[in-house]
């Protein structure tokens, strides 16, 4: 590998703060993504706690209806667009070039643009609380006509924010695809690529496929709300039934993006789990190809299921049946993954460090979220549970119990690679157990509330029989808050005092552990020729054979 001549960096860009503003290093951008999304995670979490406080008792007056609707909208939008997708993009930024043995992503400047657009989009959304009329109030799905009739500028800023975030994600997706297709290390064929990289490949293609539909829908919504440019007023009626428009058009555009978006968040989480489980079970992943191809399968099928969010709009049953069958079909590749993960544990040498605890916690709760999805796919049953707290419980089991648990597995696993220091294991384990218990206490009762008839997105309720579950859920959510504070404390404490570790503290399989922790700006001095999906495992074995010793590690 020929050394490239480095252009000298101007002095003002070398400062401790300034260097982060001008960086095009994928690792630093990855860390910026992860840390920014953790800040938004805290903000979104506080919004959730405010809502849970309001719902703890019947007819409470902690929040006004308008404040509640603003929070319910911005909490959802924040968690999806500012937390889960970008934190996974952050992991991808940091890891993909390292995992495939590249020096950086294909377009480092475009990568920086992606991050700064993301931050801008996030700020626009957060600051929209201060807009005239408050923040958007029509839910994260922003169905017209409601979203067109809301006065004030909150909804317009919501549209602006999503437009910016969409641009950011498209740029990021192109970058990942070009990087993965072109910059893999010698010998790294498609079936020797780490499973996390597979998941990012599918994640990126899906973003490219569905984000344009969201952008189109957002533009129509903006034009329907009316815009004035230099004396020209534009006012369309795409979703306005009074003028011949169709409110359902938005729902199609939104969910054609919105359902794949779920898998855009879940697939990289699956990828993290597929990296963590083998390392802590001391075995290769069971059924590599099945896991990789099921990722592609889920990505493809997920684009054919969108109308299962629309079973109650009055479609003919033939159409409902089509979407029921496609939605159920997603369960098949998902099941393949779950069983392959279980088989990876079989006959392993399991050790329960924090990343592994989170990965196992993910397995145990994600299954619940997956299984409740079958009720929602069966459309007559969906007619009963749609838009109720059952759905709220379902998607928190997949997105919190699934994705957030996987993110914590990833944070504890790759933290030493990012910063050269381990997070505290004792605090980490406490955090896991508290979070595991409180998560279930918070969200399990919500299934039951939904079955008893409590709709989602209500700022209050008058049934006193719903109070027990709601109070339980609220108490659980406070304890979740404590568990997340423990993580913050862990980060603060180990930044200075965490034990420093070498290149490969977990004796892992993939290339990112070949370089130093943290890696140098150019990542690798040299990259070994890749002969399997576990290059580092192969390397250790070759070393052992060369040394002629039977010593382990």
């Amino acid at each position: 590998m020929a050394a490239r001549a480095e252009t000298p960096v101007p002095g003002w860009q070398r400062g401790r703060v300034a260097s982060w503003f001008v960086t095009t290093d994928h690792k630093r951008i990855g860390i910026l993504y992860v840390s920014t999304s953790l800040v938004f995670f805290a903000l979104g979490g506080l919004m959730a706690l405010a809502m849970r406080t309001q719902l703890a008792q019947a007819n409470a007056g902690v929040l006004s209806p308008q404040h509640y609707n603003e929070l319910v909208t911005i909490h959802g939008t924040t968690m999806i667009f500012l937390v889960l997708v970008p934190i996974l993009a952050g992991f991808a930024n940091f890891l993909v070039p390292l995992m495939i043995g590249a020096r950086d992503v294909a377009f480092p400047r475009l990568n920086a643009l992606s991050y700064w657009l993301y931050l801008l989009g996030g700020l626009v959304l957060m600051l929209s609380f201060f807009a005239k009329g408050g923040a958007a109030q029509a839910g994260w799905t922003s169905y017209p006509p409601l979203s067109e009739q809301t006065p004030g500028h909150g909804q317009d800023l919501w549209i602006l924010s999503l437009h910016i975030l969409t641009a950011s994600s498209v740029a990021g997706a192109i970058n990942f695809i070009v990087t993965i297709h072109n910059l893999r290390a010698p010998g790294m064929t498609w079936t020797r690529m780490p499973l996390f990289v597979w998941s990012i490949e599918v994640f990126a293609w899906m973003l490219l496929a569905v984000l344009p539909t969201l952008s189109a829908g957002l533009t129509l919504l903006l034009l329907d709300r009316g815009i004035s440019i230099g004396g020209w007023h534009i006012q369309t009626h795409f979703f306005n039934a009074a003028k011949g428009g169709a409110p359902l058009l938005w729902q199609h555009a939104f969910w054609f993006f919105g359902h794949p978006e779920v898998y855009i968040m879940v697939l990289p989480a699956f990828g993290i789990i597929s990296e963590v489980l083998p390392v802590f079970a001391r075995k290769p992943i069971f059924g590599y190809k099945a896991v990789a191809f099921s990722t592609v399968g889920i990505g493809f099928i997920s684009m054919l299921v969108w109308a299962h969010h629309m079973f109650t709009v009055g479609f003919p049953n033939a159409l409902n049946s089509f979407f029921m069958i496609t939605s159920m079909a997603v369960a098949v590749p998902t099941g393949v993954k779950v069983f392959n993960w279980l088989a990876t544990l079989w006959r392993g040498n399991l050790h329960f460090d924090t990343p592994m605890l989170y990965a196992l916690g993910f397995l145990s709760v994600f299954v619940v979220g997956g299984l409740t999805g079958i009720y929602l796919a069966a459309f007559p049953v969906d007619w009963q549970v749609h838009d109720s707290y059952f759905v709220v419980a379902h998607f928190h089991y997949t997105l919190f119990g699934g994705v957030v648990f996987a993110i914590f597995a990833g944070l504890f696993y790759w933290w030493p690679k990012m910063f050269g220091r381990l997070l505290d294991e004792r605090l980490g384990k406490w955090q896991f157990w508290i979070l595991f218990v409180s998560f279930n206490v918070t969200f399990f009762p919500q299934h039951l509330l939904g079955l008893e008839g409590m709709p989602r997105r209500v700022y209050t309720y008058s049934h006193e029989s719903w109070e027990g579950y709601n109070m339980t859920s609220t108490i659980g959510s406070y304890v979740m808050g404590i568990a997340l504070l423990l993580f913050l404390w862990n980060v603060v404490r180990t930044t200075r005092r965490g034990p420093r570790v070498g290149n490969d503290p977990w004796q892992a399989d993939t290339l990112e552990w070949y370089t130093t922790s943290p890696p140098p700006p150019h990542n690798f001095d040299s990259v070994p020729y890749v002969t399997s999906a576990r290059p580092l495992h192969d390397l250790r074995q070759r070393l052992r054979e060369a040394n002629g010793t039977r010593r382990i590690s």
Binding site: Q66, R282, T312, N317, L360, A378, P380, H386, L449, E452
Partner: protein, 332 residues
């Protein structure tokens, strides 16, 4: 090591128990949809049970394997980085756990298709051959019911027992999307501007309640609905009596309009809520001004009032003006 694993299993079991306590505390527990009182709700619940049979099975299988593997293959005294056996996969197993979910989902889909006609088709009533029809209009933030003879009621519907009742569910072009949902009487159906949807129920006498299930604005949570199913003769008597009263201006409609349409924002005593205080306002005692503001809404610096009564008949408007003349809101 073993003891710490046991402690953790105990913790997991305790969590499960903690989850069940509030469940047992709440009536039917919420583990199944509310007790169905209409054939379609009944068939939906049957589908729910059928699916639960399989999901519980898969849940128990996966969680058991997980716990057993965690316990059985934990490290114990083995060296930390000692590798397990290099097992790359097994094609037969892959085929098995691809085929098994396919088979289960096939069974579930088949069951749904068998139940579907009973859920979505309105049965024809024996003698008359036609279902009783009621028009349901969802509006911010009230439900308006229109009976075949022109009787109108707000938020509380009355319906004949043991006859299929077919509901036409709509929302005015200028309104937003709502969703009609009485859990005991079947699934929900959206009220969407520009679209006419239908659903139905057939129930024994009783009182059933529900609420709007699609976020429709500030008072979405207060958009409640109830259905009182009465013996057929009683219903017929009520309907003709109400028809006469409505023409005479003595029905409960004005009361229902005040409580369902005005009070959700302005307070039951007109004391103000998410909207301004209206008790003592001159408009309330001026029928023409009141009719104008209810039909057209208004926009003032103090806020915007939507046209909650756009499209109301003269009967409807006068019911409200008469009611307010007789019962001026006290303000507290």
């Amino acid at each position: 090591m073993a003891s710490s694993v046991r402690a953790k299993l105990l913790l997991a079991a305790t969590t499960l128990a903690l989850l069940l306590v509030p469940a047992a505390y709440g009536g039917n527990g919420g583990f199944v949809p509310v007790t169905p009182e209409s054939p379609n709700a009944h068939d939906i619940r049957a589908s729910y049970f059928f699916i639960t049979f399989f999901t519980l099975g898969v849940f128990v299988l996966v969680e058991t394997l997980l716990v057993v593997f965690i316990f059985r293959f934990r490290r114990r005294r083995r060296p930390r980085f000692q590798d397990g056996p290099t097992l790359h996969g097994a094609t037969r197993l892959e085929l098995l756990w691809t085929a098994l979910p396919v088979a289960i989902l096939f069974l579930i889909a088949t069951f749904i298709f068998i139940e579907l006609p009973g859920i979505s088709h309105v049965p024809s009533a024996g003698a008359t051959g036609r279902a009783y029809q009621i028009k349901v209009t969802g509006r911010q933030f009230y439900w308006q019911f229109e009976y075949p003879n022109g009787v109108i009621s707000i938020d509380s519907m009355r319906a004949p027992a043991e006859v299929p009742v077919k509901l036409t569910v709509v929302s005015p072009d200028t309104d937003v999307i709502h969703s009609w949902w009485i859990p005991a009487l079947g699934g929900k159906i959206d009220a969407i501007p520009g679209i006419v949807n239908t659903t139905w129920f057939e129930a024994k006498p009783g009182f059933y309640s529900g609420q709007c299930a699609e976020l429709c604005g500030l008072e979405h949570a207060r958009m409640l609905a109830s259905v009182e199913v009465m013996p057929k003769s009683e219903f017929t008597a009520w309907l003709s009596q109400r028809r006469a009263q409505q023409s005479a201006g003595t029905s409960d409609l004005g009361d229902e309009e005040w409580g369902g349409v005005c009070a959700k924002c302005h307070g039951l005593a007109g004391e103000g809520g998410i909207a301004v205080r209206i008790a003592g306002s001159a408009i309330l005692s001026d029928p023409r001004a009141l009719a104008k503001i209810v039909r057209n809404g208004t926009s003032t610096p103090r806020g915007t009032m939507p046209a909650v009564g756009s499209g109301w008949t003269d009967d409807q408007v006068s019911a409200l003006t008469t009611y307010l003349k007789e019962h001026p809101p006290s303000g507290s």
